[in-house]
């Protein structure tokens, strides 16, 4: 594990909303090529963690990405640096067509229309349902389709690190499984690094390289998926099996 290069590294990351502090000093690491899963219950601060990393809320502490501090960067600079967040729930642009959503995902890219069109074609082949609906408004898609669109849109920027905020939320178990399979596949085939926060432990554990447990804004345990599943008390308290 240590031979891998560290991609993302937070030290004492603290964030919240106005006077309310939600995250109390989070230390996490994501190495290149890993899928890191942060598990936590409702209100543990999962979404806040995502937002703090992607810079949509003010934060203190340090965040390093590829060895460079991105603590002071704005959201758009962080996206250009290669971290893209898939927002929770329906984070699509509902009034825009599916194709325009994907185009918007490539907003930060400067490598020309041809390369962008090629990528759109590529993600259409991964998510054939999106191609069928390419001219429809994103708002008219089903929940699962919107989630796929959100992921495809994020991937359009060719990120080095994908942040996924509860991709299973509101989706049928079958669709969730399909989604996690796709993420796992992308990780294996494209070497995509992923930081994923989830409530739904069972599925997420399958694809995780490492797991953190987040409880009321504090990391309470960490380790490989196997290590955590092996620990009885943790398994009962957090994984429910």
């Amino acid at each position: 594990m240590t031979s891998q290069t560290t991609l993302l590294n937070t030290r004492f990351l603290t964030a919240g909303y106005g006077p309310v502090t939600v995250l109390h000093g989070i230390d996490i690491e994501v190495n290149e090529g890993e899928i890191v899963v942060v598990l936590g219950a409702n209100g543990a601060g999962k979404t806040t963690l995502m937002r703090a990393i992607s810079g949509t809320i003010p934060r203190t502490g340090n965040i390093e990405f590829e060895g460079r501090s991105i603590k002071k960067d704005s959201t758009d600079a962080i996206v250009r640096a290669g971290i893209v967040q898939v927002p929770q729930g329906r984070g699509t642009f509902p009034e825009l067509s599916v194709a325009d959503n994907l185009l918007a995902g490539a907003y930060v890219r400067r490598d020309g229309a041809k390369a962008v069109a090629d990528d759109i074609a590529k993600w259409y082949s991964v998510f054939p349902r999106l191609q069928e609906r390419s001219t429809q408004r994103a708002g008219s898609l089903s929940g699962g389709e919107q989630q796929m669109l959100a992921i495809a849109r994020a991937l359009m920027s060719r990120p080095k690190l994908l942040l996924c905020d509860e991709p299973s939320m509101g989706l049928a178990p079958l669709i969730t499984r399909e989604l996690f399979n796709v993420i796992g596949q992308l990780n294996k085939e494209e070497g995509l690094s992923v930081l994923l926060v989830e409530q739904n432990a069972n599925l997420a554990m399958h694809i995780a390289s490492r797991v953190y447990l987040l409880e009321t804004g504090v990391i309470v345990a960490s380790g490989s998926a196997a290590e955590l599943s092996a620990d009885d008390s943790i398994r009962k308290a957090y994984l429910g099996f």
Binding site: T75, F93, D100, A104
Partner: protein
């Protein structure tokens, strides 16, 4: 028939100005959710600037482009320096600030160029002869089906038509347009794909004020003179147009603007006793009330206009 054609052209030419200002209202509303009450006054200020350029001997065509640049700057600076910081406080504060700007800009126009302040209906205001973009002598008309149509009016319709097509091309086929639509659809997600939402909003306000400047110049041309109340009634009609078309629909703003122009001119023309010149603005009032009663999201707006 002649009368109908004349009213049609008059209605469309006035309506196209309403459409321009309504487009500005919609662009800003989509981006920030604010109704900029100073929209018309920003346009009036730019119009006076164009007039001043004309006085200095700059050809009207160039003066208009310079005026639009001034308008863009005015809009962009307003967004960055005033509206953005204040919108963190409350929507109420933004509302008051746009009213304040309305009052301030109107006063500035009067202070520099003279005339009675504030939007009266032009009573007692100093009237300034305005250079027209198109030939506008009494002999400059074409005869269609026996109706004498002013070249001026046709020019206005054509110009606004071209500008509208260009705007929609920007919306639908450029990076800026994509960013603007993304910000309007979902501001947070727009940030997450790397769009600098601040710059987009700044550009939106600038763009809105720039097309407003053109609208002002064109309207001043139709009215042949400029006074301090010029753009105020236009703003009212444009708001009615935006309400009719749907506050978040640019296409709706254009359709709404043209409709309001037509309805108002036809009503005033065919029912002179009932509507006449006095109650033209009553048409706008009834349209707004009617739309709110029966179809709050307007003709083309999304139903995000929520009920309380």
């Amino acid at each position: 028939m002649e009368l109908f054609l004349q009213r049609l052209v008059d209605g469309l030419s006035e309506g196209s100005v309403y459409a321009l200002i309504a487009l500005g209202i919609v662009i800003i509303y989509r981006g920030t959710g604010h109704l900029n009450f100073a929209q018309g006054e920003m346009a009036l200020f730019s119009t006076f600037v164009v007039y001043q350029f004309g006085e200095w001997g700059i050809p009207i065509g160039i003066a208009v482009i310079m005026g639009m640049a001034v308008g863009f700057t005015l809009g962009a600076v307003t967004e960055v320096a005033i509206v953005r910081p204040i919108s963190k406080k409350s929507p109420f504060a933004v509302f008051i600030v746009t009213i304040g700007l309305f009052q301030l800009l109107n006063w500035v126009d009067g202070a520099i160029w003279g005339g009675q302040q504030l939007p009266n209906t032009g009573v007692g205001s100093k009237q300034v002869r305005f250079p027209s973009l198109f030939p506008n002598n009494p002999t400059d008309f074409v005869t269609i089906f026996g109706a004498n149509i002013k070249i001026q009016s046709l020019g206005v319709i054509a110009l606004v038509g071209v500008l509208t097509v260009a705007l929609f091309a920007i919306f639908n086929h450029t990076r800026l347009g994509l960013a603007m639509r993304a910000v309007a659809a979902n501001g947070e997600s727009a940030k997450l794909v790397g769009i600098r939402t601040g710059r987009v909003l700044m550009a939106s306000w600038g763009l809105a004020a720039a097309i407003g400047a053109l609208g002002g110049v064109v309207f001043a041309g139709i009215s042949t003179n400029v006074n301090l109340g010029l753009m105020f009634t236009v703003f009212i009609y444009a708001s009615a147009a935006a309400t009719l078309g749907g506050f978040d629909s640019p296409g709706g703003a254009v359709v709404g603007g043209l409709s309001i122009g037509l309805i108002q001119n036809m009503a005033a023309g065919y029912a002179p006793k009932w509507v006449g010149q006095e109650m033209k603005v009553g048409v706008a009032f009834l349209v707004i009330l009617g739309v709110l009663l029966f179809r709050p999201s307007g003709l083309f707006g999304t139903s995000r206009v929520e009920r309380v």
